[in-house]
């Protein structure tokens, strides 16, 4: 009962957060000067034509009315039309039509990254925690510290320099038409996925190591050591089982973090994903498109954070009773 209660609490909190986020995104894009009518008409704007277009687009309604119209459209799956156009000839394209192929591309990339990065990083992080102070541990600590201190675009740039320019193994851009399968898909995804794997796994490694070491310093582990339980058994039977929850949490948090990493990486490699679409929309000030993309990203992020919370509740009974 308490478990259900805790989950319901988190769900309600997640929905409330999404609501606040939608308000913030709407305020961010709508109330500020330079509305869509201005952008569409540009130089040719006269006060009369502006007013006419605003009336046509429903922009003359007060802000809170427009917000609820936007929100109800959003909830019924009607994302509206790209008003400014993310390129020539796209004015008036339904946003959902523009989003879907891009979303599919981004999901392909994210899946590839998760499949590679998670098992790799957790294993290395665990090994570092199992043998603290060894050469392996110090190498992991130092490399990951270095990797999280540099921007993603630097990692991406260096990978291009080495793998594409010097060695010529992989293409420097990641063009994907959506029809690729098998080996071609792997090749197209390789560079952006590799960059994200490098960045995301250094985070997961650091946090896995920290989590397991944290468990290792708890009294029951000390007890096990004093009893004379072999080190391997301590880690696998006592520490790891207690660290599973926190590690799953770490993974969920890092997948949420990929949401923003993807923005940089898709730009560097000109990968036609959702984030690239959003950046283009920001540059052309296509506000409806920006709103839609931002909502998708934020919702993904909030859902992953929710999963992370859920995992910690399930793994740690003490969290089921909020103080």
């Amino acid at each position: 009962m308490t478990l259900l209660h805790a989950i319901l609490r988190r769900t309600a909190f997640g929905i409330a957060t999404l609501f606040v986020v939608s308000v913030l995104i709407f305020i961010g894009t709508s109330i500020l000067p330079g509305d869509v009518a201005n952008i569409i008409l540009g130089q040719m704007a006269t006060p009369e034509s502006l007013a006419a277009l605003r009336a046509k687009l429903g922009l003359d309604e007060p802000a809170h009315v427009r917000y609820f119209i936007w929100l109800s459209d959003l909830l019924t799956g009607d994302l509206g039309f790209s008003k400014a156009g993310a390129g020539a000839g796209t004015i008036g394209t339904p946003i959902s039509e523009m989003l879907m192929p891009r979303l599919a591309n981004t999901l392909k990339l994210a899946t590839a990254v998760a499949v590679v990065a998670v098992p790799f990083a957790v294993t290395v992080g665990l090994l570092a925690a199992m043998y603290p102070g060894t050469r392996l541990d110090r190498a992991v600590t130092f490399t990951t510290l270095g990797l999280i201190s540099v921007p993603e675009f630097l990692v991406a740039t260096l990978l291009v320099l080495v793998l594409a320019v010097q060695l010529g193994w992989l293409p420097a851009t990641a063009y994907i038409s959506g029809q690729e399968t098998g080996w071609k898909l792997v090749r197209a995804l390789a560079m952006p996925a590799l960059t994200l794997v490098v960045v995301a796994s250094s985070q997961i490694m650091r946090m896995t190591r920290a989590t397991v070491l944290n468990v290792m310093s708890s009294p029951y582990i000390e007890m096990a050591i004093l009893k004379g339980v072999p080190r391997k058994r301590i880690i696998l039977r006592h520490a790891l089982l207690n660290a599973v929850g926190p590690i799953a949490n770490v993974i969920a948090l890092n997948l949420a973090y990929l949401v923003s990493g993807v923005v940089i990486v898709e730009t560097v490699f000109a990968y036609p994903g959702l984030a690239k679409l959003m950046i283009d929309a920001v540059q052309t000030r296509d506000l409806p498109l920006v709103q839609a993309c931002a909502m998708i990203f934020c919702a993904t992020y909030i859902v992953l954070i929710f999963v992370a919370d859920l995992v910690s509740i399930l793994s740690n009974p003490r969290l089921r009773h909020p103080k």
């Binding site: 894009t29 921007p151 675009f153 740039t157 989590t211 944290n214 948090l253 506000l287 931002a294 990203f297």
Partner: protein
Amino acid sequence: MAESIEGTGTATAFEELPDAPPRRRLRLSWSGKLGACVVAFWMAIVFIGPSISPYHEADILDEALFIVPGSDNPYPETDYQPPSSIAWLGTDYLGRDTLSRTLFGARTTIGISLASTLLAYLAGVTLGIAAAVGGNVMDSVLSRFNDAILSIPSIMLALVVIAAVGSTIPILIVLTGLIYASTVFRIARSLGLDVKVSDFVEAARVRGEGLWWIVTREILPNVAMPMATDFGLRFVYVILFISSLSFLGLGVQPPQSDWGSMVRENLSGLPYGAVAPLVPALAIATLTVAINLIVTISPPMPAGGWRRGCSDARAARGGRPEDRRAQG
């Protein structure tokens, strides 16, 4: 940076108290010293960079400079020149001097980041301590609002705002400052709550001290050290964040130079082995790694303490990924 970590200003107030514990000395390991040297170098460049740079940041170098004696080509290429005695680190895609642009860019990148971090601290610490000491209603209102802001990926928030209002340096500073204020708020609030329930605050309250006295003389000095450490980390994240925005073409606008946008501008030279995109990238990396070396590795970690290793574990136990927001 080094100054703020030592926190000399607050340490004085700390020692005035009769029963104050011995002052924590900052012992730097060799890697910490290396980091401090690099940070000091870049800080010096912020101030003297423009005056020692050979050219102006926006100057496109004259073709005449690159005429090879004996060659009859009067119009040599000036873009993506390799390092030479004319341009020590080569030229960029327009034929501007990379060294000069990096020196000028230090002022923009570090200046904006520092201003944003200071703003984030001003807002975050003020509100965080207010939430900690201000009673239940204030705490819940501020915390709920803060949670909502924290749950938006920072780069999304920035993209939406920049889409709406454009990108100028004041907007960048305020935007970044407010985004990072939410993470500072969380830390300040939780540290403030810890100190608030301690015996010496209780004693001060029993003595009849006012709220202002307690906040400024008991709480702030005691949260200063951990906050100073966090300041270093936060500064790194802000540098990475600002650079990433610039890299996306949404940060500092040309012709002003900035390390992030310099990498972006010159990416096209990478296939030809140009050094132009690598120099600013290395500048960012050296600065951020150096700050991390000072903050994370050097000082002895107090048991159950407040440094990076622990905050990782804290985040792992169910916190938000706020420690890493700057990267995204």
